[in-house]
């Protein structure tokens, strides 16, 4: 078994922060170790480079459903045994599914790392599913959907906005799936999906905590390293979104809505798809536009024109394919959504045409760079940051160099991306409105 260590190149010497170890097992599984020696605790995560956007046609929700079913046990460790083990250790466990990844984690005292690695390795290949456990779990997922989406008009609107935004790319399908397709998912679907995606080449181990990198490496070889290689990771080819030429308006009016709100979502490049520096410029631009109460939108719409009680924007950089920038607002009493929408258009036009002041620009970068320091306070946050980045095709060097690249963004870069990407033809606007206004 050979392993490459990139530890020395991962960290620019000038920056504080943990020194990250990254290596790859012979069977293709990535291993990342993040030291955090403040407590005798370890966070153990396995990320798979597949998520809801990899669901096969007619099987929306299968990535998320399988995530639930991964707790149903194996031949060696029947249902409940892994969870009971983690509970006996006083640990925490859970899992989550995104459009680009699925991840499982446990947090346990450091001396039990080897045990959770052994269990997680076991369920990478030995999952046992019977209809007896699959059927009630499908009901659980349907209840999850009812709870998160179907009982909440604002969640229903967001779902409708996303599906309008992506005419072709599977980011338009909700992670949890469409109800009528979840209802048809069964044991065979789950196993077929599991066999296709749950392979060492497709997996990333992230361990953060009070551990020595060489110990994690040894344990990884003894556990995950024993899983036979399949030859190659599954190919990640999704239908790509064509250039959008038409702005779309989605309206949801419901008697349960008492407060109107507006969201507008633009398709923009992600860290992975952007030209060099463009994603970082989008990050700074989104912060200047809508990050908190010093932002352009808040000042213009809430403080100056008093047309809104709240307004902001944010950018989701970590994404395998082209991603999204959100603009949102809550209109002041008596302001119709139509007038509010026009006011947002005007505020955006002004933002695009006005060069940010040096002071505002420096402030935005200061806040973003500080967030990278604040993240070091939480080993879970760090583990999630690195895991999500690697699962969406970024490298360790790209993550550790993020703050330096933010520092390098210029005002011209920000002006450039605002002009280029805040193009309404690439956006969907969603109105959530009380029924009386409809």
């Amino acid at each position: 078994m050979t392993a490459q260590s990139n530890a020395d190149t991962a960290q620019p010497k000038s920056r504080p922060g943990p020194s990250i170890t990254h290596l790859r097992l012979e069977n293709g599984m990535d291993v990342v170790v993040i030291p955090d020696r403040r407590a005798p605790v370890v966070t153990h995560m396995v990320w798979y480079r597949n998520g809801a956007a990899d669901d096969p046609p007619l099987k929306s929700g299968i990535a998320h459903f399988l995530e639930h079913l991964m707790f149903k046990g194996t031949k060696r460790h029947p249902q409940g045994e892994f969870s009971q083990l983690v509970a006996d250790l006083g640990g925490q466990e859970n899992a989550f599914t995104g459009h680009d990844y699925t991840a499982y984690f446990q947090r346990v005292p450091r001396e039990h790392l080897a045990t959770v690695m052994e269990y997680e390795t076991d369920r990478m290949t030995n999952l046992v599913l019977t209809d007896e456990v699959v059927t009630p779990e499908r009901d659980v997922v349907l209840e999850e959907r009812r709870m998160r989406t179907d009982s909440d008009p604002s969640a229903e609107l967001s779902e409708a906005v996303q599906s309008a935004l992506f005419a072709h790319h599977p980011y338009g399908t909700p992670i949890i799936g469409w109800e009528h397709e979840i209802e048809t998912l069964g044991r065979e679907d789950a196993l077929a999906y599991y066999q296709r995606f749950y392979t060492p080449e497709n997996a990333i181990l992230v361990v953060a905590g009070d551990v020595e990198p060489q110990d994690v490496e040894r344990l990884a070889r003894e556990t995950y390293g024993m899983v036979p290689a399949r030859g190659a990771a599954p190919e990640r080819r999704r239908p790509q979104e064509p250039v959008s030429r038409a702005h779309r308006l989605v309206t949801l009016a419901d008697p349960k809505v008492e407060q109107a709100t507006l969201e507008r979502v633009y398709i923009v490049p992600s860290v992975r798809t952007a030209a060099p520096g463009e994603s970082e410029a989008l990050e700074v631009m989104a912060h200047l536009l809508g990050g908190g109460q010093t932002s352009a939108l808040y000042k213009r719409l809430v403080l100056d024109r008093k047309l809104a009680v709240g307004a902001g924007a944010y950018y989701l950089g970590s994404s395998l394919d082209a991603t999204r920038l959100w603009v949102y607002g809550v209109p002041a009493p008596g302001v119709s959504l139509q007038d509010f929408d026009a006011a947002i258009d005007a505020a955006l036009a002004e933002f695009i045409d006005t060069r940010p002041s040096e002071k505002d620009f420096v402030r935005a970068k200061t806040r973003l760079v500080a967030d990278a320091v604040y993240a070091q306070d939480s080993q879970v946050a760090l583990a999630r940051w690195y895991g999500a980045a690697l699962a969406t095709g970024e490298t360790i060097e790209e993550v550790t160099g993020w703050a330096n690249r933010i520092e390098a963004v210029t005002i011209d870069d920000v002006v450039g991306v605002a002009r280029k990407w805040l193009d309404k033809r690439r956006a969907v606007t969603g109105f959530l409105q009380p029924e009386a206004q409809a």
Binding site: P16, D36, R38, A39, P40, V41, F71, S83, Q84, V86, A87, D88, L89, G90, G91, Q92, E93, P109, P136, E137, D139, V140, V141, E143, R146, M147, D150, S151, D152, S154, P255, K256, V257, E258, Q259, T261, G292, Q293, T294, K299, V302, L303, V309, G310, V330, A332, P333, R363, T366, R367, V369, A370, D371, V373, Y374, Q376, D377, S378, Q379, V380
Partner: protein, 426 residues
């Protein structure tokens, strides 16, 4: 029993310094230089329990205004000053206290504490800011007016604590919020922000002497004595009733509860163990297994012990499709009855103790979480030694203790139940 559970030799209590500044402000401090950050949390006892019956939401509004302009800064200027330093600062009000949450890079320590002083001592509370923040709070209340979770909770609170401050809406009511005045905000600040009801916890890259000087800067000028209205102790009411609030959604959101155990009750720790067995936050709890895993009735089902200063409750909830709401509730009630009559098994008890002992460490893994826990221990009237005693107390819970606590906690099984949705057969 305690020999079955090796207690770690590391003393968490020993990491806590109880300091007293030159000016007499007390705080709990954990020095830690691993990350160049300082987290501070503080609280003034009082909170929303001090809102007048006719003016709920006043404490929340006051908390929301502290960073909306202070000293030389107007609202925009103050937020710019906060962002220039990349400080995290926000304020909130709970039923029994108003709290400040604060985090800074250690290189900006001095300037950041000055901003905290301005917020605590010199918030302007200008009329324009009052109107703006009120409008924001009203908008958030409107957004959740027909949200099933919020409806079930609101209905529960009103039925459980009728005619008591705990029955009021901490974040106010849409109808009465706009009538709150600057004079009432100033009065509440004068009554609540005082040295004798201040609690402080700090974690991070700061030593006791430096912190002492900063505490004197931020809190030194506050009046010595608070003037709080007494809050009467109260028992949860409405047991045995089921209240349905109709919301047109496919799912019924259920809240249930009954009396809990006082924090100082000798059976309190046994109560924590028994609640963990019923509905604690692990995939091994009875409610998780019976409601979710076996029957697929719900995604989320839980119970916990909720203690306010003047009330103790067992609270729980779930969300299940309308057609199966009655079944879900029946399963929950059966588990509660069974635990009341038979108590947990020795095996359940052993597993719960193990979980609670082992998981305590995970509450202390970030500086903000440590500061939050140290703040709450002080609010509960504990000393730092509780950080070590707590696991010993859990380890010492016997099966007899657990059965007695289960009988007291679950008693006759009578619950107050509120439901938001369109439940069938309830």
């Amino acid at each position: 029993m305690s020999d079955l559970f090796p207690i770690p030799e590391i003393s968490r209590a020993a990491t806590v310094q109880t300091i007293r500044s030159p000016g007499g402000v007390e705080a709990w401090l954990v020095e830690d230089y691993a990350v160049p950050l300082v987290a501070a949390q503080f609280a003034f006892r009082g909170g929303a329990s001090q809102d007048a019956a006719s003016a709920p939401g006043l404490a929340t509004l006051l908390a929301g205004l502290l960073d909306e302009g202070a000293g030389p800064y107007d609202s925009a200027g103050f937020h710019e000053a906060i962002d220039d330093l990349a400080v995290h600062m926000h304020f909130s009000a709970d039923r029994d206290y108003a709290a400040g949450h604060f985090q800074t890079l250690s290189k900006n320590l001095d300037a950041a504490f000055e901003l905290m002083r301005l917020a605590v001592c010199e918030a302007r509370l200008e009329q324009a800011s009052i109107e703006r923040v009120t409008a924001q709070l009203v908008a958030s209340l409107r957004r959740e007016l027909k949200d099933p979770d919020a409806v079930a909770s609101r209905t529960f609170r009103a039925a459980a604590f009728a005619n008591h401050p705990y029955g009021r809406a901490t974040r106010g009511e849409i109808e009465t919020m706009p009538a709150l005045t600057r004079a009432s905000l100033l009065d509440m600040r004068d009554r609540m922000f005082a040295r004798d009801n201040l609690i402080v916890a700090v974690v991070g890259a700061i030593d006791a002497a430096t912190l002492g000087a900063q505490l004197d800067r931020v809190f030194g000028a506050l009046p010595e004595k608070s003037r709080l209205d007494p809050v009467a102790p109260v028992e949860i009411g409405g047991l045995g009733s089921r209240i349905v609030a109709t919301v047109d959604v496919p799912q019924a959101t259920i809240r249930f509860g009954r009396a809990g155990l006082d924090r100082n009750d000798p059976d309190f720790v046994a109560g924590i163990v028994v609640n963990h067995i019923l509905g604690g936050g692990a995939f091994t709890a009875r409610l998780f297994r019976e409601v979710r895993e076996k029957r697929g009735l719900a995604y989320s089902v839980y119970s916990h012990l909720q203690n306010y200063d003047r009330a103790a409750m067992l609270l729980g909830g779930t969300s299940t499709k309308n057609e199966r709401a009655a079944e879900s509730l029946a399963v929950i009630e059966e588990q509660i009855r069974d635990l009341a009559e038979n108590g947990p098994t020795e095996d359940e008890l052993a597993k719960a103790r193990k979980f609670l002992i082992g998981s305590y460490a995970l509450r202390f893994d970030t500086s903000t979480k440590i500061a939050g826990n140290l703040l709450h221990l002080q609010l509960e009237g504990r000393t730092p030694s509780y950080l070590d005693d707590r696991n010993r107390l859990v380890a010492a819970v016997t099966l007899d203790d657990a059965k007695r606590a289960a009988r007291r906690l679950f008693g006759d099984g009578e619950l107050l139940v509120t439901v938001a949705g369109k439940p069938v057969g309830m």
